[in-house]
Amino acid sequence: MKIKHISTPLSHEKVKDLKAGDSVLISGTMYTGRDAAHQKLIDAIDKGEVLPFDMKDAIIYYVGPAPAKPGRIIGSAGPTTSYRMDDLTVPLLELGLTGMIGKGARSKTVIDSMKKNGAVYFAAIGGAGALIANTIKECEIIAYEELGPEAVRKLTVVDFPAVVVIDSQGNNLYETERKKYQKID
C-alpha cells in the first residue's frame, strides 16, 4: 500500500491530491477539539470573538487525551467518534478548516460543506491511543483549560497515521468498502 506523506498547513492544493482510501502520515501542527470545545468555538463565532487558532488550512483532531505521565508529552490519544461534532462543523469549514481527524460516519450536511469548501476527513484507528500518542512530539493547551481532557491543545506531530475516509469530492470509504464485503443487508 502506497503511503502519502503530508505536511501542514493543509492547503487546498494538498486537499485536492488526497483521495478516499489513501493512507497518509501527517507531520506538522494540528489542534485538538471535541464536544465541549466545538460548542465554545461556535459560541465564539456567534459572538464575533477571535478564535484561539486560525481555521485557515488547519486540521482539527477529535481527541480528548489521557493525562501525561511524568516525563511524557501526552497520554494515550486516539480519535473520538466524529458525528457528535457534525452540527458544529460547518461554520469551521466556512472559515477555512481543511482537515478533520476522527472516527466514524459524517452527516450529509458536513460532507456537502466539505465539497463546497475543499476539506478532507481522515480516520485514525479508534482504540489505538497508545500507538498514536507516540507520534505526538509537542503538546500545549491553548484554550479552554477548564475543560480538562476537552481543552484545545496545539499538537506537533510526526508521521501521524490516518486514512482518508471522505475526500473533497465526497467519495466515502465507509460506504464503498462495506459494500465489497457485505453478504447480507
Binding site: G64, S76, G104, A105, A130, P149, Y174, E177
Partner: protein
C-alpha cells in the same frame, strides 16, 4: 458472619481500574489473533495488527490502551453471610475509582450533571449494581465503559409474536446502524426479557463475560453463534473500513418476562472490551 473491610474493596477497585485500562485481556488478544488470520480485507488485517501492536505498547509503556478509560461500571455480588465493616461500600468503591484514575493517569471522563456538564475531575461517581447472593464472598466486577460504543446502545420492546426472528433482526439492525462509530471489531451484549431496565442491565452484564465463553442455555448459545455470523456478514469490518471482522463475540443473557412482552436491549463494547474480576 464473615467480616470484610470495605477498604479491601476500595483497593481492589483501584488496582483493577489501572490493570484493565493498561493490559488488553487474554480473551481479547486471543480473538485479535484468531480474527487477524481469518480477515480477508488487507486493510482490516492491517488494522487488527495495529491493535495488537497498540496493546504491546500500552503494556510496555504502562499507558492506557485507549484514551477513553471509560465510566466505571461496577457489579458487586455480596454473599449474605458477609458483614461489611470499616465504612460505606459505595463510598469505598468511589474512592477506589478516584485513586485508580488519579494514580494510573487515566482520563477523567465524567460530568457531574448531564445537562450542566461540569467534569467531576476524578471520574466519579461509578455506576454500581448490587446483588445479594448466598455465600460468604464478595465478587467485584469492574467494566469501565467507553462512550463511543455506549452511544450505540438500543432498546426495543418487541411483541411476543415477533419471536426469535424479531430479536435477531433488531440486534443485527443495531450493529448495522452503528457502522464504523463504536470502534469495530466490537463485542455485542444482548439482554432479552425482564422489564425494559432489566433487559438493558442484562445487555451490559453480558459484556462482562469473556470473549469465547457461551451462555449455558443451549438456545441462547445458538443465538450467540447465529448473531455473530450474521453481524460478520454485514461487511462493516475493522474500524468500518470493510471486512468480515465486525464483531469478536456476541454475548446473550436472558431473564423471565411478562406474558405481554419481549424486551430486547443491545449494548455494544469496543474492541478493548475491558472487564476484570476480584473475589474477596
Amino acid at each position: 458472619m464473615r467480616k470484610v473491610d470495605v477498604k479491601e474493596i476500595e483497593n481492589a477497585i483501584r488496582d483493577m481500574s489501572i490493570k484493565t485500562n493498561i493490559y488488553v485481556g487474554e480473551d481479547v488478544l486471543n480473538a485479535f489473533n484468531k480474527f487477524q488470520k481469518e480477515e480477508t480485507s488487507p486493510v482490516g488485517k492491517e488494522i487488527i495488527a495495529n491493535l495488537i501492536k497498540n496493546a504491546e505498547i500500552a503494556a510496555e509503556e504502562q499507558v492506557p490502551i485507549c484514551q477513553d478509560t471509560g465510566m466505571a461500571v461496577v457489579f458487586v455480588e455480596v454473599g449474605q453471610e458477609v458483614q461489611l465493616i470499616g465504612g460505606n461500600i459505595t463510598s469505598a468503591i468511589n474512592e477506589g475509582v478516584r485513586r485508580g484514575y488519579k494514580e494510573g493517569y487515566l482520563r477523567k471522563s465524567v460530568v457531574e450533571d448531564p445537562l450542566i456538564r461540569k467534569n467531576t475531575g476524578d471520574n466519579t461517581p461509578a455506576v454500581i449494581y448490587y446483588d445479594i447472593l448466598p455465600g460468604d464472598k464478595v465478587k467485584i466486577t469492574l467494566a469501565p465503559k467507553g462512550f463511543g460504543s455506549e452511544n450505540m446502545s438500543r432498546l426495543k420492546m418487541l411483541k411476543p409474536s415477533d419471536g426469535l426472528a424479531g430479536v435477531l433482526d433488531f440486534v443485527v439492525e443495531t450493529v448495522s446502524i452503528a457502522g464504523p462509530n463504536p470502534c469495530p471489531p466490537i463485542v455485542v451484549g444482548v439482554g432479552i426479557g425482564g422489564t425494559s431496565d432489566k433487559a438493558t442491565y442484562l445487555a451490559k452484564k453480558a459484556l462482562t463475560r469473556d470473549i469465547g465463553s457461551h451462555n449455558k442455555a443451549e438456545h441462547l448459545r445458538n443465538i450467540e453463534i447465529t448473531l455473530l455470523e450474521k453481524i460478520n456478514a454485514l461487511g462493516i469490518g475493522p474500524q468500518g473500513l470493510g471486512g468480515n471482522t465486525t464483531a469478536l463475540a456476541v454475548n446473550v443473557e436472558a431473564f423471565a418476562t411478562h406474558i405481554a412482552g419481549l424486551p430486547v436491549a443491545v449494548n455494544i463494547n469496543c474492541h478493548v472490551a475491558r472487564h476484570e474480576v476480584t473475589i474477596i
